[in-house]
Symmetry: D2
Subunit: 436 residues, 4 copies
């Protein structure tokens, strides 16, 4: 029984059983949640969960907010029981009293999520529910505890052992490809022809993680170009469409030029770091000739940092860096491809020092840098005039960057980065470093 | 990428990375666990988890016991932090302080299991690990808390939404069928021919639950015979091999004659109740002509109850029941198929009253009865001389029982059973009831 | 090994072996064919076949013509051997001499096609080769014998027993869907959204035949709308996109609104008649509530007939029909949807009599009518103003027709149609019949 | 729609339509064949074909013989039409008259087979039908023409382009594996455990060809052992069961130790030669370390030749060879493993000269030698005491042989073997050659 048939079947089962076992459809969602937490009959549990989820979808924004507020206030633990459990633990702290205390203090929200997830297709809807929740979070910081419980539950459900890596190509089902188009977040896929040019040619690859409970829904995907040289600009990759390619054995470089998270509801449930490493291995086994694995990445925070006074302030009185920054600021007034070519060295130097010296805490200010360096990659090369699209000009004056994934050093890179915030970079870049 | 290729690939990945990143293979398992809890680099985490699991397999029984004892004593929570978190909660019991308390009191065993489960194939090995643990549990009741944590983790991983129902038939892979032979626990499958006679004929069906992380490993399966009448004995089902069968549309009865749990390490993670109900739905949609869904079940506790004095005592001075029991005891001296035929009425009456009146707490003494009645089935019919195998004679003087799954009443049956222990039975059996 | 991997693999094999075994790539195609017919070594046979096919693709139009002319003139049989075989047969006509004669007279073109087909992927290229041939056929009627041999070979390869019916839906691979868009010949599919609206909704279905040697290539497909009434116009079907649909059990009518042959190179290798019948059965088993299976078909020859004098002449002096025709001709001057509505009865009557009375030989003049009536369908209803597109107005003044597939009568309909050209039609249409 | 569902579906379709369209089931098979050749309605054609095939299965041996005799005598061509077609050809021999003659002389048996093959599942039954026919052939040589027509049809249907190579392993369905056990013809597979030891271990492989119209039916399969040395005996391969194996990259030798044709009804439709070459390529791509591809083959005709006087006579007065043979004959009196060990050199020499010098026409007398040498393999090594089973002792005094498949020379070997019967052998064996 294929998974989709299984889902179909269970949906039908629920539909039938709903008719058999259930009373009024008019029950409020609060009633339904109460009922769900009280059921012991499992069929009625599944049906009630389905009703609650269906009900949720129909709520207005205000009602959804109320729903989450109710989760925050009414699905905690029984205070008396917590106190008793703690007293037992305090008297005799051992595994038995601790386990009891741990179970007692578990917010009832977690059990609620587990029960909702019993019904077929629920995982998908719970991920969507968290997407809603995240929107409220900015205005309603008290809902953070509810979100923490979602994260706690999802971390367990979406453990790495349950993820499946799939190749995305022109033989993939339209149902999945349509989502790839929709979810691409870095370099927009314009239409199906554009998609085909990214996944069908012999020198293009695309990989995605899936989870068995989210049918046809990629969690994250990465697009790869196989080349014979380090790429210095994004346009040739996006436009070439793979074109005429010789035999595959020629490739010596794999470029990860786009990584997109697909499920906003799974934010902070991390897959990306492992995806790249697994894809490196996959490609290495298919193409033994490939020796270099790099990204071609944007530098999204550069312009903002360059122009931002407070950012300058962060750097204090670092004289040389401040001078460099002041000098580079002039560039941003003058954003033509030509002027950038003329000032390529200055731009390269400014970007390098931004990535290496501009910090948020002990880590780099740039979010993309944080992601790849945190994975154990190193800063490999900087390309001025690499992305002359409006977006590229705006965020980084067209500069892009290669991060290098070298399996022999990612683990040690990661360790020193994680503990001390050390940014590893190519020796050849050393001369660009400005004293701060 | 098929799941098995995914597993292969990850195994290779670990093998390679182990070579790249890891030092001595001589580290003790305690060191490895400590290291695992301390890692932040994820590749080294996966490798350390793999090492720990490989190490575990090589332990002696005594070392395994020590391993679990270590889990019990050294992977609890930080007492100071628990105290602090509780004080914050006691001062201001709200979702925030509760969540903090809940996280702080979570036994570190849970995080350990999560981290071990990061490495490919780990789920299977953790299930095996619990199988070992269960054996120690009788002698070492203090390990109960460790087991509770396994259950807590498994309940989350093996949630119903992640189970996949598969049909088992002659087109199923040998890798799976071989396990079906091995795991059959009720009516032994002698060899591949015997297996084929149970899954290949048009009037036989077999269904199993699978989990994506346990490749080729059934969790539980049920064997079904499609018939034109209520079956009164097991031998014709096992022997007939389906034989000549007319068109499928003729069937009016589906008989669940064998249900086997496959994974001892998943004990108490319940799948069986839902399996039967889902199979009922599946069969109903394929064969609209089938109106009756029954089991043909053993009565494993009958003989023991009949002969056991203390069990009699349980029933107190219930005069008529005691008399019936005394009368029926004579039967067990005289176990030939013939004598049973002569005393069929007595046996039927005794079995009925055993199932309905012999209790463990408020529920029936018989474990199979507890399972099906707890699912919402009702006691439908009793067949003396239904299983004349040695095992059948021994445990129930050859009697077997049909439990009826009627979707219209299982939920209400379940409710009254769960709350009050009410045993629902066929009206036609009423006359057999003896006053207690 | 999936079929595609099999193809990949064989391509690689050929590529490698080509390098190993083969001399110059400069050989002419005539040399290659000669070599191919002379090879006994099978690897060299496969390689030579591959070379010949690759060579063919690079030929100019003139060279292709010369290639086919060479097939016509130089790949017949050995005249002397034919004479000898005939003399032996004439002396003693028996199965032995006949078989010998039959083998001797077999044009060597057939063996050439068989040998070309040994190489992986060849079937597809041979189908394309015939597409080329068909274009030459009009100007070069002597090539008809070459085409007859293609047909003879294809008939054997594409026997019904080797066809596979597949459901086309949104889970189908993009590689196949892209061809569905391209091959749709009746009602153009504008883009992927339009495609989705035809195959994804619950009340739409699409089925195609595939052949194992033509990977991802549909041979023919049919689009179906499931409705609750007989459709009287095509626009609502194409536009509705399935929209909101209740439970599937409601449908009572299945409409085949588009049938497209995909492979011009397989012209006259008939699949269509069987496809519809198989789909009828498929739908009947999925939707027992569907009782009516009809087409919604164009009447492509109507306007031409109406305005064509010679066509009138065909009908001789049939007074009433001629009058009707003359009257209807006026309509075509005045092609607005309004005017057609006003003259609906006249149009209906004219279309009916065109379909029933205008003949080519003993069969209807209209090609679509010939197809469906030849399949055993009957003329069921006529709809004026059913297709107001430019194409629809032009070819039939907007009229469309339902042909009814009733499994109980298609075989008898077919027999009387095939032998006597009888056009079966709905009794309710009888009154429209004009004396000729 | 999976192929099996397609078959199921069509069976149901036929079943239904049979009920709808067909009269008496009592028609004789002759009537049915006549009807089948006369039908133009395609549904009735399918149904009639099904009836004829069903009818055939129920015939007695005598009736089957009569059936084939009827095919031989009554399904030839129309004599008058043949004469007319020939006269037209004789007058003007061109592609047109030839094609006409070719079609006219085609035995109606071929069209009959095509029409029978229209019905689902027919291909399998036609293969079985030929199995029956082959049994009659020895006694009824006049049926040879019927068999020739089966071969002619099958050659077209089972063209190489339609074959699919599949890996057989422990994940293969039981339906297929069961046939592998049944069809193994060289070294019997005792039971499922024995099977597993041949397909599951890391150093064992099995490959089979399938055809889409014969679902679950292998056509031919080969068993392979991956080793680190040239094998000198069969027992270690059969017994070892793969045992402990290091990493796969260690293998340097692949041994084809068993090749079995599965379908007696496809005799003379050759697959074996290509299978080995394709498997060589497959293994080479998976294990680049494997450099040597050899068989471990029996020498089935050796003992018979050694003891057979007439065989000696064949060799005429070749003095040295006759002496060798006379000397070796003594061995066969004395068949113990010990005595063979003592006389290993003599046996090796005798076997070598048997393979190289004993001929049937210009080719080797030994059938296995003919197969592999005809494929382009060369005689690589001879092993006395390699198969001490009863069968091995009896047919070759325990000797076995390696034939080497070297892709660089198979094509040239094949050519000189095919044209001149040259037996290529390892230079190291040269010294064993005895003057004849």
């Amino acid at each position: 029984m294929a998974l989709d048939r299984f889902q179909d079947f269970l949906s039908a089962l629920v539909a039938k059983q709903r008719a058999l076992f259930v009373g009024s459809e008019q029950e409020s969602i609060v009633d339904l949640l109460t009922k769900l937490m009280g059921t012991s009959g499992e069929v009625s549990g599944i049906v009630t969960a389905r009703q609650a989820l269906d009900h949720y979808v129909g709520l207005s924004e205000d009602q959804k907010l109320a729903f989450f507020q109710n989760l925050e206030s009414s699905f905690n633990a029984d205070e008396t029981l917590v106190n008793l459990a703690y007293q037992a633990y305090a008297k005799n702290p051992c595994s038995q009293t601790l386990n009891k205390l741990s179970l007692t203090t578990e917010p009832r929200r977690l059990e609620l999520l587990r029960r909702l997830n019993q019904t077929p297709g629920a995982t998908h809807e719970l991920v969507s529910m968290r997407t809603d929740l995240l929107k409220f979070l900015k205005q309603q910081p008290e809902l953070k505890t509810v979100d923490d419980d979602f994260v706690r539950m999802f971390t367990s459900w979406f453990g790495r052992g349950f993820l499946q890596l799939e190749t995305i190509n022109w033989s993939t089902s339209a149902a999945i490809l349509e989502r790839i188009i929709r979810y691409e977040a870095v370099h927009e896929i314009r239409d199906w022809d554009d998609l085909r040019s990214r996944i069908d040619p012999l020198n293009r690859r695309c990989f995605a993680y899936f989870h068995p409970a989210l049918v046809d829904e990629p969690l994250i995907f990465v697009e790869v170009a196989l080349l014979n040289e380090l790429p210095g600009a994004i346009a040739p990759i996006l436009e070439s469409g793979g074109g005429e390619v010789g035999r595959s054995s020629d490739f010596n470089t794999a470029v990860f030029y786009s990584i997109s998270n697909c499920q906003p509801g799974l934010r902070n449930i991390s897959f990306g770091n492992f995806l790249i490493k697994q894809v490196v291995q996959e490609l290495q086994s298919e193409f033994p000739s490939i020796k270099t694995f790099v990204t071609l990445s944007p530098v999204p925070g550069f312009s903002h940092w360059l122009l931002n006074k407070s950012a300058v302030a962060d750097d204090g009185d670092r004289s040389q860096l401040s001078e460099l920054k002041a000098e580079a600021q002039a560039l941003s007034q003058n954003q033509t491809a030509e002027s950038i070519t003329e000032n390529a060295d200055l731009l390269r130097k400014a970007v390098f020092n931004y990535l290496v010296q501009a910090k948020k805490g002990k880590f780099p200010l740039d979010p993309v840098a944080r992601f790849h360096l945190g994975n154990g990659a190193s800063l490999h090369q900087i390309h001025p005039r690499a992305d002359c699209s409006d977006k590229g000009m705006q965020q980084s004056l067209s500069a892009m960057v290669n991060y290098l994934y070298d399996l022999r050093s990612i683990e040690s890179n990661h360790e020193s980065y994680a503990s001390e915030g050390i940014v590893h970079f190519n020796d050849k870049l050393k001369s660009l470093l400005t004293k701060s």
